[in-house]
Symmetry: C2
Subunit: 328 residues, 2 copies
DNA sequence: GAAATTTTTGAAATCGATTGCAAAATTTTT
DNA sequence: AAAAATTTTGCAATCGATTTCAAAAATTTC
């Protein structure tokens, strides 16, 4: 297929070693030979096989980024930052959707190990499972890994997590201080991350002596609208709802408006994540900002240090903050 | 670092060839040896080095997906479909942000060539440049490439494009038929794709004897809001605006509402792309659906055939359709 | 039970780079 | 101009797989 350094060597009348030295700017090559080889290199559109190079050097210059769903703005934002940052250093990123079962997610760890990635990033709390943990122990026991939004107690795994429990509790307290006394929570899928949010909701309700009103919605705006309407019919006294995800909040807001409710006068709404579209929504969403950007950039920083020094790990907790806009 | 087949071979008391045969399910291995080797393979958590394998087999089982900005829902949706589809076939996807200059985009072609990807996908009309074209000729002259939303007249490049000219013209005609006579167009960045849209707008205006009122906005919702307001102050007679991007339409809608305009009574709005959030917006956006899904799945289909038969190419044009919701 | 046939296995070459070491070429010193 | 020192270059081994070809082992045939 492509040219090899042997082709270049023959053309230049030198050995492959010399070509290799020119390519890698090694010293001890006569200026005239270097220039001759360089010219041929340029004219022939040669490109080094990274696979062959990696085999010798025991490196791949590849990163593995595992996300549960790349279409999620949330996840892609993290993948983007890391990809951009490491591309500048000559690393390519294998960005993979890790499927939706623990088996499949564990399998992806094996795939990354087969590709000999130099480091990996796990984005999303769904990776928190015994199967994935075991796969890491089996297949990547020493590869630096950064887990965004989850933790493993393993010597090669760093973590960057948002304190979602506290973030959600904070939202409840805020609503309480605004005089709301009937605060419901609408959850999405059952993930470790969402369990932490609910823990925060329950904790704050207990603290404040409020009734905990929990409901679960499918993960589309439309389903959330239905869930919201249904919840309201069962609890007409509701004066605030917190949603586990901004998208659900948008769906709920829309339906409440259609039902003639006034937001936030009749009912206050708080979403979660401060997703890009939350500020585009009408009304603009108040939301629990899980500090996606900080999370991702912390991952990127840790990864960088860990690639330098594979035994480096770090555990970062980032505290969410409340962003108040038009729904509270 | 990891185990090699030689380690496995020693452990099993056989040669590396035998291990290789077992791994690849080649025939002619005694059942008892096969089972012994398989057991060791399982117990040792061995994983084949794809790089070494690729070197021998002259394959990489990697795909290159170049996008101009992975955070763009638009682009990521395409990358997602392709990644998902080919992962099932054992391919890993290098998803790369190709930067924002023609030089950098061309450079990424070289990077993919260095990684010896078996096929590549270009997502976004911005790749339509002489530099990229030359990079393809130089570095990937025979690698199957599918260009989503652009074309190169090269024997290895397939294309899947939306007929944005016609799609936009269609939107103008629709508004005209609804009785609108003062239809403006707000464009975003100057890209080949956006130029096609404007061509369609201008064409339809000419056909219908309308004045062409063109304005350009920055690419945030806020900037679009400002542009919209400014445009309206200069052309108070406006009764419809088409936006090159849904996001801009959301920004515009919001500002118009704030200015006390009624949508669509006073002024009708049409976005472009049918982005996921366009249906979440309030009011729900009418939009020119550029058939992202069809586009991506056509790319995926072509890619599949092209990997089988590297000289296969195809050129697909998909016609956008108008999705009418609450802003018209 | 020896010969012929078939099945199973391993040695060695290969893929495309990199690198240590020794040989060749060049320059410096005498 | 020869010897010594230095610079430049190439040979060969290596990375971790796969595959061809021939040898060894097992099976069948006579």
């Amino acid at each position: 297929m492509g040219l090899t350094i042997y082709d270049i060597a023959k053309e230049a009348g030198v050995s492959a070693s010399t070509v290799s030295r020119v390519i890698n700017a090694r010293p001890g090559i006569k200026k005239s030979t270097r220039e001759r080889v360089e010219k041929i290199l340029r004219d022939s559109n040669f490109s080094v096989s990274e696979a062959a190079r990696g085999l010798v050097n025991q490196t791949s210059r590849m990163l593995g980024i595992l996300v549960s769903d790349i279409r999620n703005q949330h996840h892609i934002e993290g993948a983007y930052m890391i990809e951009q940052h490491f591309m500048k250093k000559g690393y390519c990123s294998l960005i993979l959707n890790a499927g939706d079962t623990d088996e499949s997610r564990a399998e992806y760890i094996r795939i990354l190990s087969s590709r000999r990635v130099e480091a990996a990033v796990l984005i999303g709390s769904v990776f928190q499972s015994e199967k994935v943990r075991k796969a890491i122990i089996d297949y990547m026991p020493t590869t630096p890994i950064v887990f965004q939004n989850g933790e493993f107690d393993l010597s090669n795994v760093s973590s960057v997590v948002a304190d979602e429990t506290e973030g959600t509790a904070e939202a409840v307290r805020y609503l309480y201080n605004q005089g709301r006394r009937n605060i419901a929570y609408i959850n999405s899928n059952d993930t470790p991350s969402n369990r932490k949010k609910i823990a925060g909701y329950d904790k704050a309700c207990a603290e404040l002596g409020l009734e905990s009103i929990l409901s679960v919605s499918g993960d589309s705006a439309e389903e959330s609208a239905d869930t919201t309407e249904h919840l309201l019919s069962e609890h007409p006294e509701l004066d605030a709802i917190i949603y586990a995800v901004d998208l659900l909040c948008v769906g709920g807001a829309r339906r409440l408006l259609d039902l003639g409710k006034s937001i936030p006068k009749d009912i206050a709404l708080i979403g979660t994540d401060n997703s890009p579209f939350s500020i585009l929504a009408n009304p603009r969403l108040s939301t629990i900002d899980t500090k996606l950007f900080e999370l991702s950039s912390a991952c990127s920083d840790i990864l960088e240090k860990a690639i330098e020094n594979p035994s480096y790990t770090e555990h970062v907790v980032i505290r969410p903050s409340l962003v108040l806009r038009e729904t509270t």
